[in-house]
């Protein structure tokens, strides 16, 4: 059987199982509760492990990580150089690599170039530096329009870029993950690295916003 035929049969067999939904309630809360109960009974999940995953992304991993990377790049030109030449290594220096962020590329925004990140095919996102993605990032409107009409998308976020700015939209089709380094706002010359990091928003590291002083 050719590779193509195998994939086709495999997909058809899996697709068949999605038809269970006509037999299940539409309310996800009920279904998820039943699933956790079933998996626990079968020893396929430990509820305490579920708690630990939730707690990890509630408290230990979030956009404050990415903000630290950005602030360091703003104050330390050598770090910025390292970040541009090998973001995986540079982010690793801050111990911020992890699942869905093991292969990193930093995209520096300038007055001439504005970078924007999307995953049109699903929801790929640099979890270790930004935490979990917002609903809008994972939803059809953003996924469909970011590559087609980035200026229109940015307008919806209240950001209008002048005509001469070149927009580069990065579609995360592989396991490479992209972190936008937004422009440092004017009037922040006297702020410490920590104070600068506090200004950097998650949205600015996706590329749908600029950082405000």
């Amino acid at each position: 059987m050719s590779q193509h035929d195998h994939a086709h049969e495999d997909s058809a067999a899996i697709a068949h199982h999605h038809d269970i939904h006509s037999e299940l309630p539409s309310d996800p809360a009920l279904r998820v509760k039943a699933l956790e109960s079933l998996l626990t009974e079968k020893g396929l999940v430990d509820p305490a492990t579920v708690d630990a995953w939730v707690e990890t992304y509630e408290s230990r991993i979030g956009p404050r990580n990415g903000a630290k990377v950005v602030a360091k790049a703003w104050v330390d030109p050598d770090y910025k150089r390292r970040l541009l030449s090998d973001a995986t290594k540079a982010i690793g220096e801050l111990d911020m690599l992890g699942n869905q962020g093991q292969h990193m590329v930093a995209l520096v925004n300038t007055p001439e170039i504005h970078n924007l990140v999307v995953c049109t095919l699903c929801s790929c996102y640099p979890l270790p530096v930004l935490g979990l993605p917002p609903v809008w990032y994972k939803s059809a409107p953003y996924r469909s329009r970011a590559v087609l009409d980035p200026r229109g998308v940015l307008k919806e976020f209240g950001l209008e870029l002048p005509e001469h700015v070149k927009i580069r939209v990065w579609d995360s089709t592989a396991e490479v993950r992209y972190l936008v380094v937004p422009e440092r706002p004017a009037g922040t010359e006297r702020l410490s690295e920590e104070q600068l990091a506090a200004l950097v928003t998650r949205d600015s590291m996706i590329g749908v916003a600029k950082v405000k002083a």
Binding site: H4, A15, A140, L148
Partner: protein
């Protein structure tokens, strides 16, 4: 408009389920809906192509799940609402508002047969001759109108051969948006399956599309 209706080449929509001896209408209401939409009084000079466009504006998940005649009802409602011939409240209540005057010019039953057999022609005489000749290689343009078009995404940028010329026909891209018939020369263009789908496609298969002159450029 690059919406879900533009389905050519999509996977995942399941098996074709052909029903043997399928009746014209599966439920009585479908027949009523079909009839209403055919013979109801439309806004003056309503462009037929706008019907298709309005259907394309249906929310994608509803487009996939609502049955055909449900979608016709949705479109009929949009047509009457946008022309102000009914109000949202009247639609919700299923009753004419208190101040609504009753018209007396609805199509009569004895006019139906003639109506169905005497449809508006989309053919139009054009002063300018056709740009493309039979046998000529043409490329379908890469365009992304967010309004109505009849150039499917799967053909955009692809090269084929003109096999027929149908003369001038009303252009849906204009007509659907109240811009008048704006007729253009219409052609049948034949594409190889490989041109459309790549080397893995059958080398003998062909897909033919009817494409207006503004959809095409010389190749």
């Amino acid at each position: 408009m690059n919406s879900i209706h533009d389905m050519g080449g999509m996977h995942g929509l399941g098996a074709v389920r052909a029903e043997p001896n399928e009746p014209p209408f599966h439920e009585k209401w479908e027949g009523r809906a079909g009839g209403i939409v055919e013979v109801m009084t439309f806004p003056e000079n309503f462009p037929g192509d706008r019907f298709r466009y309005l259907r394309e504006t249906l929310r994608p998940d509803l487009y996939l799940t609502q049955s055909y005649y449900e979608q016709w009802l949705y479109v009929a409602e949009q047509i009457l609402l946008e022309a102000g011939m009914i109000s949202a409240e009247e639609l919700r209540d299923g009753r004419a508002g208190p101040s609504a005057a009753k018209r007396n010019d609805a199509m009569r039953a004895d006019a139906v047969w003639g109506f169905l057999h005497d449809r508006a022609h989309t053919g139009r005489k054009l002063a300018e001759g056709p740009r493309f000749a039979i046998g000529q290689r043409v490329r379908a343009r890469n365009m992304q109108p967010d309004g109505h078009t009849r150039l499917p995404r799967y053909a955009r940028g692809k090269t084929g051969i003109v096999t027929r010329h149908h003369g001038g026909h009303v252009l849906p891209d204009a007509h659907a948006h109240w811009q008048g018939p704006a007729p253009q020369h219409l052609y049948t263009v034949r594409f190889t399956a490989r041109e459309l789908w790549g080397e893995a496609a059958n080398p003998r298969d062909r897909v033919n599309l009817d494409l207006w002159e503004s959809y095409l450029e010389p190749a």
